[in-house]
């Protein structure tokens, strides 16, 4: 073998996995571009930004930005994730999997809050705010005292209770050998009896198209087919709007408002068939008395504002959107407000296009 080939072979082996040849596509990434996107944090602390935050600051931030879904103490509202408690439940039925009881690494909580929270307003938290919120989550899980300050420097000292609770996929040693056998074809068992029925539990979404009896009936020769029902028209009542305001019906503005509304849509649904979610539906909200959407659990301040005569005129909606916490103090909407007047005008036009 020639010396050249030897060298080539050696370098190929050193290079590790066989790689394809370069084509020369793409351009060099700039350092500031990498900094902007590379925000991931590893268990060893790689990727943690400079900064720190206290339990006390975290409590305030959490109440403002997180509690609407996760509850004031991380106990979770409705189906939203519970963040605290649950230690000692992992070997029970329906284990309570929280950051305190289940998550193996604190870096995961920092990384996730930083990249994905608050829900619908991702990547709006400063590093210090993330440290503070994570510190408060630790406090709610009884893992630190109330004077604790989490920082880049002490971060990796925090070990979560379930850090040792995981093992690597062992199916190849356990299940795969057990299930890789010649399957039985005849006289495989004595009895096969029904022990549990989904229809008895009855949690499947209700819809005529998934109902067996419906389909059998539909396929059967029907001597007298039921008459086609007349389409049901849903009339959207036009609530009175305070005189003096004109709501734009400019399609371009409405369309711009639809884009702005995406910020709202993580909590507020709108349109035909919309249902209350984290926030009340916005269908027909313009001109409506505050705090009166059926079925929504409003904060006390919002109920009181409505009872006191607050009506969602375009002007009031605009003022509320500019400063939600200032306009109705202590209401539960976790939103800092819209800064641009254009956005406010557009989103009101969009909301108004859905009744009101």
């Amino acid at each position: 073998m020639s010396r050249f080939l030897n060298v080539l072979l050696a370098s190929t082996l050193l290079a590790g996995p066989a790689m394809a040849e370069k084509i020369g596509l793409g351009r060099a990434a700039l350092p500031e571009e990498i900094t902007a996107w590379d925000i991931d944090v590893r268990p060893d602390g790689q990727g943690l930004p400079e900064g720190s935050g206290s339990v006390a600051d975290g409590e305030e931030l959490f109440s403002e930005k997180c509690a609407v879904c996760h509850g004031e103490f991380g106990e979770g509202v409705d189906n939203w994730p519970k963040l605290s408690g649950g230690q000692g439940t992992l070997d029970r039925d329906d284990p309570d999997k929280t950051i305190g009881s289940y998550w193996p690494y604190l870096s995961t909580a920092f990384d996730y809050v930083h990249r994905a929270m608050p829900f619908g307003q991702a990547q709006t938290l400063a590093a210090d705010e993330v440290y503070a919120i994570v510190a408060y989550i630790l406090y709610n899980n009884d893992l630190v005292e109330d004077d604790f300050v989490l920082s880049r420097e002490n971060f990796t000292e925090v070990v979560l209770p379930n850090a040792e609770g995981f093992f690597f996929d062992d199916r190849d040693q356990t299940e795969v050998p057990a299930f890789t056998v010649e399957p039985c074809m005849e006289n495989c068992k004595e009895k096969a009896e029904v022990t549990m029925r989904a229809a008895v539990l009855d949690v499947t979404p209700d819809d005529p198209t998934d109902d067996a009896a419906t389909l059998i009936a539909a396929a059967a020769p029907a001597p007298e087919p039921a008459a086609s029902p007349a389409p049901v028209s849903v009339a959207v009542a036009k609530p009175p709007v305070a005189a003096g305001y004109t709501i734009s019906t400019d399609p371009a503005l409405i369309s711009a408002g639809e884009k702005v509304f995406k910020t709202c849509a993580s909590c507020h649904k709108i349109g035909e068939g919309a249902k209350n979610a984290t926030g009340p539906i916005m269908t027909g909200i313009v001109g409506r008395q505050a705090g009166t959407i059926e079925g929504f659990k409003y904060s006390k301040p919002m109920q009181e504002a409505g009872a006191g005569g607050l009506v969602w005129t375009p002007d009031n909606i605009a003022a509320y959107l500019r400063d939600p916490k200032g306009f109705v103090p202590k209401n539960k909407m976790a939103f800092n407000g819209l800064k641009k007047q254009d956005d406010i005008d557009a989103v009101i036009a969009y909301i108004a296009s859905h009744g009101g």
């Binding site: 994905a116 996929d169 949690v203 998934d210 008459a227």
Partner: protein, 423 residues
């Protein structure tokens, strides 16, 4: 009965009507005799006389209105909010092995991002010789490959661990789709940046509001992973990651990062939220399995099933279903009519491709008696799909993910079917 009247009647009304009709059906049997000439044949129908739609009535065609019930569906009580939720592929309405693009189940963690091709960027950074940025136009200059693969959510069947819960294979098995991807091999893209020797892991990151991330071992990344931009020949749907997504054949769906924007090379895994607090399998003793990436062999009978009862009464009946394995192909599926006492080999039909859905059929003469229907996949490694009880013996019932146990449909004399557990 046409689909309009079907829609307008109350569910309860249909239940009563169905029970009455069911009894009559059994008596009718299969050798139906015409009671008179069929007006659909003897009378000139409007469509045979008057002109139908011209071309361009629908420049992008949709299914005919008689199929408008064939849709993805959501189980509202499962999640708090549709932007972080899942809906289900209507498997009981499909045949063959390809899932139509508009019916591929959706799973988002921060809603479906809307990103124009011109706004898309892909960055490679970390342990590489040259960190790079690609545009969509750059992506189109790599050699392309076409591959058909199933994508199954690790939570498919997750509601069924403790027992039969949801009545329909759409809900019990519908977190899966199977499409042909056109894209670029990940190894070709990584080669442009030059992976350093110590680069053993890859972090894939999405551009959506959840910033979805997963750590993937470099060995898999360089083996068969792709960055895909087309599905079934057309651009990816928004909800499937337009304009580009990761394809990780045979591995759990959560790793197939949609709206992909960044690949970071590192020397250890990142332990992100979706690979620690989620997509890990908790055992009976409270300890949890991690890195359970490969999807085990699985199958399900799609017809008949709770949403697709037998409507023709006794006689010739076609059983069909799908099977797949993250470890290879499915050369064999067995079907039982009596809850697993006796099994028959099903007839495999259609393409048999690596880590792709397979279609099976079993035709038989139904005598109108009760059936306990099950299917059992055997993959190309010889792995046999386990019963739910076999799985529970290893994992308990709190595992949530990776439930590939055998499902049972209890078919009753009226042809209706119900999701049940059996002894």
């Amino acid at each position: 009965m046409d689909e309009m009247s079907h829609k307008g009647t109350s569910r309860r009304g249909f239940l009563r009507a169905g029970l009455a009709a069911g009894g009559a059906l059994t008596a009718l049997g299969t050798a139906a005799r015409a009671s008179g000439p069929d007006p659909l044949i003897t009378e000139v129908q409007p469509w045979a006389s008057q002109l139908g739609d011209g071309v361009d009535v629908a420049p992008y065609g949709m299914p005919i209105r008689f199929e408008e019930h064939v849709i993805r569906r959501n189980v509202e009580w499962l999640t708090a909010e549709t932007a972080s939720s899942i809906n289900f592929t209507p498997l009981h309405e499909l045949d063959g092995i390809i899932t139509p693009n508009g019916l591929c189940f959706e799973r988002h963690h921060g809603g479906a991002a809307e990103i124009a091709k011109s706004d898309w960027r892909l960055m490679i950074n970390g342990l590489v010789e040259t960190p790079l940025v690609f545009t969509f136009a750059d992506l189109m200059r790599f050699p392309r490959v076409n591959k058909i693969h199933f994508l199954e959510c690790a939570a498919n069947g997750g509601m069924e661990w403790a027992g039969a819960q949801l009545n329909g294979c759409q809900f019990t098995h519908g977190m899966i789709h199977n499409v042909m991807y056109t894209g670029v091999m990940l190894k070709d893209i990584l080669a442009e940046a030059g992976v350093k020797t110590e680069g053993k892991w890859l972090l894939a990151e999405g551009a959506d509001a959840s910033g979805m991330t997963r750590s993937i071992p470099m060995e898999k990344a360089l083996d068969d992973c792709m960055i895909a931009f087309k599905m079934n020949g057309e651009m990816l749907r928004k909800e499937q990651g337009y304009p580009a997504r990761l394809v990780v054949p045979g591995w759990e769906g959560n790793m197939w990062i949609k709206w992909i924007r960044r690949l970071e090379v590192g020397d250890q895994p990142w332990e992100q939220r979706e690979e620690t607090s989620k997509y890990t399998d908790t055992m009976e003793d409270g300890r949890s399995r991690r890195w359970t990436w490969v999807m085990d062999a699985k199958s399900v009978i799609t017809n008949p099933s709770p949403q697709a009862p037998i409507t023709h009464g006794p006689g010739r009946t076609v059983i069909t279903g799908v099977a797949w394995s993250g470890r290879g192909t499915i050369p064999r599926v067995d079907v039982t009519l009596n809850g697993g006492k006796t099994w028959f080999p099903a007839r495999m039909d259609g393409p048999s491709l690596d880590k792709s859905m397979h279609r099976f059929y079993y035709e038989f003469d139904w005598d109108g008696s009760e059936l306990l229907l099950q299917s059992r996949a055997v993959d190309s490694t010889g792995y046999v799909q386990p019963t739910k009880n076999q799985l529970r013996a290893f994992r308990g019932v709190n595992s949530v993910y990776h439930n590939n146990g055998i499902a049972t449909w209890w078919v009753k004399p009226d042809g209706s079917a119900e999701n049940v557990e059996i002894s």
